[in-house]
Amino acid sequence: MNTVVQARQLGKRYGRRRWALRDCTVDIPAGHVVGLVGPNGAGKTTLLKLAAGRLEPTSGAITVLGGPPADTPGQLARVGFVAQDAPVYTQLTVAEHLRLGARLNPRWDAGLASERAARFGLTPAHRAGRLSGGQRAQLALTLGLAKRPELLILDEPVASLDPLARREFMQGLMEATAEHAFSVVLSSHLVSDLERVCDFLVVLVDSRVLVAGEVETLLATHHRLTGPRRDPGRLPAGQQVICASHTDRQSTYVVRTDAPIHDPAWTVTPLGLEDLVLAYLDRRPAGDPRTPLAVRP
């Protein structure tokens, strides 16, 4: 598997005791739009900042596109980073942002930048501080895309946007990935933001990968089973129980299995991505939280 981000026992501590990320091991494959999901405080932002070279690790190792992050100007040019809340310089105009981008980035795509600016109504003379939230996000995305990176990292890019602006943002991002081949990693604490756009999902909780894999595979191998009450020990060996709940008569399981489920006692329903993630979050206290699940190649 070709990886764009590879972390090994990666840790970041602030001050003497506060670990924002601890012992994080993850492989993020190339050629995908990867969704990094998890509750607030899971370490998503810290992981992404470490990958973008905005932070130095306290412990462990991280490589990005095969090298240390932000090591050389060449490496910097290969990775784009859009930090949380669409960071732009409020006092600078749109045109000044684009000039700055052109000056700082060796592979700057001026055509792409001006085309996107025109399409989203980013008037060159307007100061960034006067743009709407959606427009500011589009400006930040334009700067990230026009850099023409091999990997674009976005931290909670749509969290503060209204539904329409969210959709426009994702439309622009997906259109760019269709046109120019590059890898994308984006984080969100909402699975619904990522459901359509991501083809690979990494669920991070307390610095640990609970589940990672191609979205299609995850959806095809997880099922909800409902039927008469049954002990987990009486399920077939190939069915890994992700979470279970029981009443005195009925059992509901979420299982992972490659094989079809033939048992006529069960009503089998497919799981949406959101329910799938919730099933993993649900089971955490019961299982061993330190064992990451296998990543499918």
Partner: protein, 130 residues
């Protein structure tokens, strides 16, 4: 040209929805031989979905011999689904109507009819024979 839509609550995966919509359009004669499908970039920009989803749908349609990709031009319809089965629709619908009337006379409400149809429809073929 057709325009795709996605039903996020259907439980059917987005790529399957795209495949179904093309098949549906072919069946109804909305798409015919030589017609072009929207480009991947157009679909992606319209629906805000992952490009691989569209590529996978188009590959499946290609595999079924319904469309063909022309390098650098786009994806075009190469077959039709309408002609062959359209003639059978009328008689089948008539039988289905009769069956529905029978089911209602037997006291089944809408929901029971739907459930009965779906479970029968989804039961593997070998059990039908047994």
């Amino acid at each position: 040209m057709i325009e795709f839509y996605l039903d996020t609550r259907s439980g059917v995966s987005p790529y399957q929805q795209l495949v179904q919509q093309v098949r549906h359009a072919l069946r109804l004669g909305l798409l015919g031989e030589g017609d072009q499908l929207p480009t991947v970039k157009e679909v992606v920009a319209h629906l805000a979905i992952n490009p691989n989803t569209v590529l996978k749908a188009y590959r499946e349609l290609e595999h079924e011999g319904l469309v063909a990709a022309r390098q650098g031009v786009g994806t075009f319809v190469t077959a039709t689904l309408a002609g062959t089965s359209l003639a059978a629709h009328g008689p089948l619908r008539l039988e289905l109507r009769r069956w529905l009337a029978k089911a209602r006379r037997a006291g089944l409400d809408e929901e029971s009819i739907e459930a009965l149809f779906l479970t029968t429809f989804r039961t593997p073929a070998q059990e039908d024979i047994a």
